[in-house]
């Protein structure tokens, strides 16, 4: 696998498949805890939330990575724990990490990172296409849910419609190129750019 690198100030952590896969249930667990905490008046204070949720998230992540036998589980747990909770907003002056994404958009983003950053999928062009088709469908489906809920303006809807049709066209082009014998057609990078833009919209509207 081609590992991804995340930087937190001067700290570098190598993210493995296992760490990214574990980050998904951890993100959901944090969201669940946040939803429960919303029911208690004490936890509604922003000062409490800012410090408490990152700590819970870090503890959960370190514990999960320790049990899973992840190397350097403490520092990896701190970095991924902060990512899962969105807590590195508190470190915004020094941290250079991906945008906090603990919702569906975050999961889809992780799927996208896994597909395009992982040797597993690069080694099998058909699997890479299939995974991209599935991620694209789920992205469009969740954008449709947000659209029905009235989250997008008319202008945003028009831009999204263009991007969604472009994404579909690139996938068809990609499939055709694979059938013609090309393993790394240009359509892959074009599709990836479209998917990134769609996920940015979803992060903006579907985030917590």
């Amino acid at each position: 696998m081609e590992d991804q690198i995340a930087n937190l100030s001067d700290i570098e952590v190598t993210l493995t498949d296992l760490m990214m896969v574990l980050a998904v249930p951890i993100s959901f667990a944090i969201q669940f805890i946040k939803a429960l905490a919303d029911k208690v008046e004490f936890f509604k204070a922003e000062e409490i939330r800012k410090s408490l949720f990152p700590m819970i998230s870090i503890a959960l992540t370190i514990g999960a990575y320790y049990i899973a036998g992840v190397q350097d589980f403490v520092i990896a747990g701190v970095v991924m724990g902060l990512a899962a909770s969105g807590g590195y907003q508190a470190f915004s002056g020094s941290a250079k990490l991906i945008k906090p994404a603990a919702t569906t958009a975050g999961v889809l983003l992780l799927c996208s990172i896994l597909i395009f950053g992982c040797e597993t999928f690069k080694s099998d062009p058909k699997a890479e296409l299939l995974a991209s088709q599935k991620t694209f469908s789920a992205t469009v489906d969740s954008l449709t849910i947000l659209q029905v809920a009235g989250k997008f303006s008319t202008e945003e809807t028009e831009q999204l419609t263009v991007l969604i049709h472009q994404g579909q066209d690139y996938l068809i082009e990609w499939e055709g190129a694979l059938k013609a014998g090309s393993t790394r057609p240009d359509a892959i990078s074009l599709f990836q750019a479209v998917l990134d833009q769609l996920l940015e919209y979803e992060l903006a509207k579907g985030g917590d």
């Binding site: 919303d38 919702t103 058909k126 789920a138 469009v140």
Partner: protein, 62 residues
Amino acid sequence: MSTTSALLVLRLVSEGVGVAKEIADLAKRVQAGDEITDAEIEQARNKVAESVANWDDASKQE
């Protein structure tokens, strides 16, 4: 959080969980040397077309 917001989050979460599991299963299959069939690609292409059509319908009803 209102009931409508909670339902929206639940629908989004179920969408995310569903695809994450599919991608993880697919990665396992690739690592096991399982071959992806043309029928699977075709089925996924049809699902993409369905999702795009649903988006088009929803955006027209705005």
